[in-house]
Symmetry: D4
Subunit: 243 residues, 8 copies
């Protein structure tokens, strides 16, 4: 870890009165700067993306909508990968080498939760982790969860991300059978009382299964970042105990 007082001098990429890109974020906080498209218009987004691409050669954009994809497609010159269901765009210039650092299982309770799960998967893969997915395995058909847990176990994953809307039960059920950290991502799938992710978020926070931590509703990127930091820490470990 960098000394905190020294970090106070981290470089900024000032883009007019629009943004102060924190280009040393990765070395300081472990997580690369990723651009959140939500709340930005397509024009501003492209300006930020281009500047960051120039500086870093590798840009991840999350929560992008049709208008963002269109603008990026037209205005930015780079190698591009779009996953429109997940709302993620990946832009690259030149060759990016990433060490493989860990393996993460990503489970989605229902078909409608897949976009958020995919957001997490892509981010993790761009960060250098391997992803093992198990989708549509919610507890309405409890038996479907076993093979996915078994596969996660066989693959010896470091962390499991559980993406679930509605009652959000899957996180508790999974954690009751695994001995690795579980990160819950409630989704805004749901309806009526407890809809928009409220029930799923509560459910995960109230869980009786210790070892679950939670990110905010639909925050696939946040879960991926936390999982990545855990993997990174694991991969850095030399195996000897702390003095």
């Amino acid at each position: 870890m960098k000394k905190p007082m020294e970090q106070m001098k981290r470089e900024c990429l000032v883009i007019g009165n629009l943004a102060n890109l924190d280009v040393e974020r990765e070395s300081a906080t472990g997580v690369p700067e990723v651009i959140l498209a939500r709340g930005k218009n397509a024009e501003d987004l492209c300006i930020l993306a281009e500047k960051l691409l120039e500086k870093k050669g590798h840009v991840i954009i999350t929560k992008a909508k049709a208008e963002h994809f269109e603008a990026i497609d037209q205005k930015i010159d780079a190698e591009k990968k779009f996953n429109k269901k997940a709302g993620v765009a990946v832009l690259k210039k030149g060759k990016i080498e990433k060490d493989k650092i860990g393996r993460v299982a990503i489970f989605a309770a229902g078909t409608a939760d897949i976009p958020v799960a995919e957001e997490a998967r892509i981010v993790l893969e761009e960060f250098g982790c391997e992803a093992v997915t198990g989708y549509d395995i919610g507890v309405a058909g409890m038996h479907r969860v076993f093979p996915s847990i078994e596969r996660a176990s066989d693959e010896d994953v470091d962390v499991i991300i559980v993406v679930a809307g509605m009652e959000g039960t899957l996180a508790s059920v999974v954690k009751s059978m695994v001995d690795v950290p579980v990160i819950g991502v409630p989704t805004s799938i749901g309806y009526g009382y407890g809809g928009e992710g409220t029930s799923a978020l509560m459910s995960m926070l109230q869980s009786c299964s210790p070892g679950i931590t939670v990110v905010n509703i639909d925050n696939g990127f946040g879960a991926a970042s936390a999982a990545y930091l855990i993997c990174k820490r694991i991969s850095e470990n030399k195996g000897e105990p702390h003095a």
Copy 2:
């Protein structure tokens, strides 16, 4: 990880019509069974504690109140350690050996957040982790946070637990300067609009600093469990990458 279908045969310690203690929980889920005193009367608590003590030789009780401590003190014959501020009792019979597995920093924003931080600390230490604490370092006096982060960095901690009530700002601020996972524990300290932990919980879930995950309000034990699982995974790693 144990095969999930085999876990469905995990042994239970049936205590009348009162409880089904899940005595194989540790081997299956990585986290030992801990007894939550909240919602249980002192008499029932003692019955559960005694049975578990008999079986395991080591019992941790959280969220205990005066009446619980008193009953344990009178009725249970064991080596006992009480931390009444934190609401934690530790009971032991015979010699318990634990490997040291990792190091966790625990920060508390204000004096009133210390009980929850201490709950996390004791649980972690009983689980075999080392704890590094930094208390009353909230952002009203921002400068106080730097030495604690520096110390966490020097001690090369694996995870940081940030315990904070009121506006819950400390988690975001800490995460912006560290490259390890941060687990936020909002506390019920606060008042008026956003009191009882609501503001702190929201703040941590809304954080702009990626890499924070959160447990429910005042859940020091939950944060400790998740931190412990991360440490355990790190300590188990042989240093070689996944195939």
Copy 3:
């Protein structure tokens, strides 16, 4: 069913300016009048209980507290059965004959949910149903739920009542494995965000497992009443299809 317009002439037992006891409720609505102690002082409760006892010979009181039990004990002359954990008092005068009408399983997720489960059990038994219980079988130790479901299946129960606080997950999990109606009773056990039963109620209402219906938080009596009506309807059926 009685003609609705005729029911508009149902007899009332007028008790001063205090109450209008609906003494024909059972024949009209299928469910006997039961006295809710909550919100009534001990003195008024005893007056109502005595009048109803006189009229019916059999009185069930729910949500009673210490002061209510004490007053009943002192002031009312009848055969009395108290279950203080469940807050239920049963008073009888003379011989009450009830047909056995059906069998209901009652599951409780945690030790702290037992009082509400017991409220349901006693009410059901007083109404004439058989009860099959399975307590402390929540999903933190998933394997514990199987034997209870198996027993419910062996006993060929007509309905299952699932009592659960915290994340309230048990109802969904149980329903995914049974082909009888499940009635969920969220309990006020829980803490922080989603506490006081909110999370459990939401979870049950959001359930992906079709066939669950829900009563309000801690309403063991309500669940028992609905289960009883189902059993009654089943027991009345002669086996021939509707014309």
Copy 4:
């Protein structure tokens, strides 16, 4: 009921990374798998519907919108029945025989509640129940409820589903005059404070009339499923009491 541990081997129809259709759900949980259109795009919906149709010959789709109906209409080759107000599509291939199993009354408080009531009606009829409807009978004109209750009584229904938005009062009023179970379905009809179904849901959960259970807002399908399970249980009963 099937043994729960055996159910853990229930067959799944895996559809790429999109879905794990639980094709043995009916035999295990009593309720056939029905496809929820909400949250799915039209293309994915058609894939799922076609696969299920192939397997089962009979598919019910709920909460469908214009785009879903259009896609189904164009892409799926089957006998189709659409009820666009209710958002329900029924697809059949070949001859489906269903036993008649019970009779359910469905009441709707206002004209705006009819779509949800119709969702319940169609699902019930597809499941094999008879439906008796009484619409626009809310308590603003109390007298309108009597003929509907009378008809339900004459038809000897097994269960009554009450669909109501606004203050949701109808459920309590109906239950006060009938001796069969009542399932309340609050609807999102309403406005201002308590709108979007909140008031109706609360009202039904707070009801003073015992014997009401509730499903989530607008969940006509959920109410139909629960009512169907009750009817099924009744129709299976041979009339002799449990041993």
Copy 5:
């Protein structure tokens, strides 16, 4: 009505730094100044009561608790009437003459709602209205409401106050059968979701029966004040239409 600008010179009875009693309130706003005990300590309450008593000869105190009644009993020299269930104290010095001005029916849904209904009744009677009561007539036994409405009709009441907790249904049901204004008073009686009066308040605000207006939870005094103003206006009318 007094000219508003002139009212800006209404006399105040200044009591140290404690209160500015608005002694001309009755002539200006139609409603006499009444002292709310809630939020005041017993000592301050007595000072205010005594000053007002001196000035007006007639004081009504609402929401008084045991400690307030005790202090009034000991410290104030006047003719006193206490209704402890309703939390109302009435103090008089000398002879108070009030014209009879109208008749109000007060209905309470359940036994637990009676204290609030009684608060309204006493205030109305002190203001000079006649009160007609009908208690414990909630819709769980619908038939009980008819005789009370009939009596209100026979007595030709000007307004009906409906006091109800739980689902608060009674207000809608009553209004559907009467042609006078109905004022709803939700009470804090209730539990779980929608408890503390929330459900009752929503229910009354969402009512489909036009002609209901509402006051805040447990505000018997507020309902009485509004009913009184209506009665007063009616009694002042000379029968001739407005020009």
Copy 6:
């Protein structure tokens, strides 16, 4: 008032499975049946309007949107009056005679509150009341309220309706200067915390000025109905006191 049990036989105008129009509502409840357009599609609305028009010769439709106005304009043959800002359509066939019965002041706090105020005004005028309006007189410019109150006083109004969004303060301020009943209508005008009418509704329910009652957010029709019932009662009074 009609005897309540006789009302249970009130005539209904059954319109297929769509509606049960309560055509005797006016004589029974004092308020004519008015059609709420919200939640109905244009086609159904026109069917209901036409049937009611045929029966009564006079139809009021509230909360109509562009599509409703258009459909009414094209499909219904009658004398029509549209106020699109207020969302009200009035349809007449033949000559409708209404007695003038009372006078109501309608105040609106801001320009944005005028549509709801106009809804109330039109309904009142159609019911036969005179309306006195004072718009944009909110407390940000306190002085603007005086002339309106003065005018209401000069016109000797029977009731004042106060329509206000944002902080909803106007109701309290007006009531502090008038001796007639005040009916508050919170509007959904507002933003951020307390927006969508929440703050205005709370403010009116919490008011320190006794004599205010409240209807739900934006419910201009509800306020008009209650005001009309008060006026009707006043106009019916012969001036002699109740026996």
Copy 7:
């Protein structure tokens, strides 16, 4: 300050039944009348703007949308300045002289918060204050805040406005390092639990850093008004202490 009773005669500019413009507001309350476009249609807005322009020669319009800008552009004849991102239009006729009165720093946490910050900036500049801006300096990159605070200090600002969405942490952090009043403006930027400004508002209200006051979500104009009043008061001060 003007005598309050005299203010009750403040002039109004009556615009039909549409508005009562409070044209003396500035001299009375210190803040000029500004027109809020939200909730007004474009036509009405232009009428108000034109009348006020005529009277004052200087009009500020906030929260304008595309349709408002278009209408102003076409219908109003004046010198116009539009900032569409900020939703602000400034109209002038003739020469407006304003004294410079104070200096205010405006900080925005993220790029998405800039529109609200710009609303505050333009309003302040139109009122005669100097503005010093620092944008995209949120705590995810803590180091970015130091240069902005330093600049505010160098420029000797009188007040700092902090505009922040998400967790709203920036206000607390800034206030912990400055000795001038800080006004927090939470923005509706955010998502999931605590979204739409809730978390940011709570965070600022719960702040441990004394000296922060808050306006409602997105209320850039409100913050500017308060900051302006502080500056005005400072600039009016002659330096001598109060007698």
Copy 8:
């Protein structure tokens, strides 16, 4: 203002593992460190108070309860001033000289709001401001507010603090007549819907009167701090405009 980076070296008074007192807070942030008793036990409070007293000679404690006052009284040796209604204790050692810096009016709407107003008054006076109070002047008797505003005007106050519970209307009304900044303090006085300060807080945040800023519910100290910073800034001003 001190340079922010230099502030990062502000001195701390470390008190075991209990607190890091920020003893340079006043010079850095303008507001002296004040001890909040809420959430601290009496013993810890006394330790903190004593250490701070030793260092500074002047300690203010807010939100103290009986047990805190008692402990301070017994354990701390200093000149003490207690205001138990306001929950404030002031401790001094030796002579403290404070410059008089400004004048603040403090208004309280009702008698029950006085404790919070007094908290603000005492803090302000200890900080060196003059306070002008006007209590029990809420809008139920609107006329009472004029003399207080007039007095504030005569005294030429720099800021007005308005303390109000219930509907919180007073802040808007006052601001509509004054040209100085107004700081609103909602109080937890209130009941039912909008109680515990919610309505008052919303009301102040929604205010149509620009120039109001708000602190959290019951936060008299926070309002005093902000008012003090404004006064301090005013008193420091030399009268010449910024360059």
